[in-house]
């Protein structure tokens, strides 16, 4: 019940955030602007519009997770509202979990809004909106589970700007993990191989969540991939949240 209260409070607080509202408006404008691109695409309008839609949804929700998530815990400390919260019979881990799921709720809501706008644009432009596109949006949601967990983790010990930079860096590197793997295989130096392998398993393998090309080109994806990706998301987010709780537990207020 206490966690529920924090979740709802975080949700209310985040949707009132100017950053959140600005990002949503901007995303809707970018998706709507695909109409402008339509006559220039020379027979590839459907692909271009779907790509713009899916990529905008990912980009703007990642921005929400990083920018709003990076401020969540720090804001409570800065405004000293944290004293009010921790003085109540509530565990510190409950506070972190509440913040995490509150932000996930915000992200879910923004994904829902963007997906509705995207489907509406497709219908208005006379493109059959396939359900496959929803799979890609769903994968983006799972990717955001990890990014949000990382944003909360960095938010527990750093300022919003530093936290956002760290989360962005991990987000970027998380999409290059397959290159680390390829590098580990290709290199002859055993120490470099070990480092590259460690990075491969340590960093979140975010390329797993990118199925945009497959979805737009109507390529069949095995259900096993989704199940394993969901399992990976739950496990990775749990570990990051455990570390966040431990760090927050040791913090002096």
């Amino acid at each position: 019940m206490r966690v529920n209260g924090i979740i709802l409070n975080t949700f209310r607080e985040a949707i009132r955030d100017k950053i959140f509202i600005t990002i949503i408006i901007f995303a809707v404008i970018v998706m709507g602007s695909s109409k402008v691109v339509q006559p220039l695409a020379l027979g590839q309008e459907e692909k271009v519009i779907k790509d713009i839609g899916l990529n905008s949804i990912t980009l703007f929700t990642v921005l929400i997770a990083v920018l709003v998530g990076g401020r969540l815990v720090y804001k409570e400390i800065e405004k000293r509202t944290i004293y009010l919260i921790i003085s109540r019979p509530i565990h510190r881990w409950q506070f972190i979990i509440g913040k995490y799921f509150g932000l996930l709720l915000v992200i879910f809501e923004s994904l829902l809004i963007m997906a509705c706008v995207f489907y509406l644009i497709l219908v208005l432009l006379g493109i059959t909106p396939s359900l496959n596109l929803l799979l890609s949006i769903l994968m983006t949601f799972f990717e955001l589970w990890i990014i949000t967990a990382l944003a909360i983790f960095f938010s527990t010990f750093s300022s919003p700007i530093t936290s956002s930079i760290f989360t962005f860096a991990i987000y970027f590197l998380g999409h290059l993990t397959r290159d680390f793997r390829a590098f580990a295989i290709a290199t002859k130096s055993p120490s470099t191989k070990v480092i590259a392998d460690i990075l491969y398993y340590l960093l979140p393998n975010l390329a797993n969540f990118n199925i945009k090309a497959e979805v737009v080109h109507n390529i069949y994806l095995e259900p096993k991939i989704f199940i394993l990706t969901i399992a990976y998301t739950v496990l990775y987010s749990t570990i990051v949240l455990i570390f966040s709780c431990l760090l927050f537990q040791k913090k002096d207020f």
Partner: protein
């Protein structure tokens, strides 16, 4: 009187100089503007070339744009159309077309429409047949069931490199892919015949004869089989 004339003359000379100066300045302005337009036009061209020269390779761009590869590929696609259009309307020189499509192919190898269009304009307009074939091969690698790409490879080989046996090989593969044009099988037979492989051409015509219920097609196959058998007998 003399003074008056002298004064009038001076006035006339002054006026003449003023008018001449105005005209001269006007001419200079035109000249400067003309040169400005020229250099601006030149700098636009240089800018375009420079832009493409520093347009990074697909291999480099792919990791940098992380999960937004398809969206960046679309932007490159729009740039490719613009580049092609600009040169189609002006000098018909497509120096960097290959580079642009190479990037596109790396970013979204499943974008078969871009491979199809890119290969055809590279082969026909830019006359870069080898680059066109390279692009189409990469397209086929990632879209093995797209008959149109295989057909393009056959078409380029048949029409431009005049490699009829390779063209026949691609036509035959294209004829077996889903949603293909039914005529490709016949083109495979024609290509093999033109390339001098009568046995393969004969085999395909026999296949057509055995698999079709269409009376006209059966007759056509029959005629071709007879012709090829005759050719074979003469050769032997």
């Amino acid at each position: 009187m003399g003074k008056f004339i002298n004064h009038q003359f001076k006035n006339l000379i002054t006026r003449f100089f003023i008018v001449a100066s105005v005209f001269f300045c006007g001419f200079l302005i035109w000249l400067v503007q003309f040169n400005l337009d020229l250099s601006r036009h030149k700098s636009f061209r240089i800018r375009l070339v420079e832009e493409l020269m520093y347009f990074p390779s697909g291999k480099f761009l792919k990791p940098v744009v992380i999960e937004y590869q398809t969206a960046v590929a679309d932007l490159v696609w729009l740039r490719a159309i613009q580049y092609y259009g600009e040169h189609l309307m002006s000098d018909h020189k497509y120096e960097y077309l290959d580079h642009i499509f190479d990037i596109l192919s790396y970013l979204d190898p499943r974008f078969s429409g871009a491979h199809h269009f890119g290969a055809l304009i590279l082969a026909w307009d830019a006359r870069q047949v080898q680059e066109a074939l390279k692009l189409i091969h990469r397209g086929i690698e990632y879209n093995p069931l797209d008959w149109q790409l295989v057909f393009d490879a056959a078409f380029i080989n048949y029409m431009l490199t005049k490699d009829y046996l390779t063209a026949g090989y691609y036509f035959e593969i294209a004829s077996k892919l889903p949603e293909t044009w039914r005529i490709t099988e016949r083109w495979a037979a024609f290509s093999f015949e033109k390339g001098g492989n009568i046995d393969l051409a004969l085999e395909i015509w026999l296949q057509i004869f055995n698999n079709t219920e269409n009376r006209k097609l059966k007759e056509l196959a029959e005629r071709n089989i007879a012709k090829l058998l005759q050719q074979k007998a003469t050769k032997d």
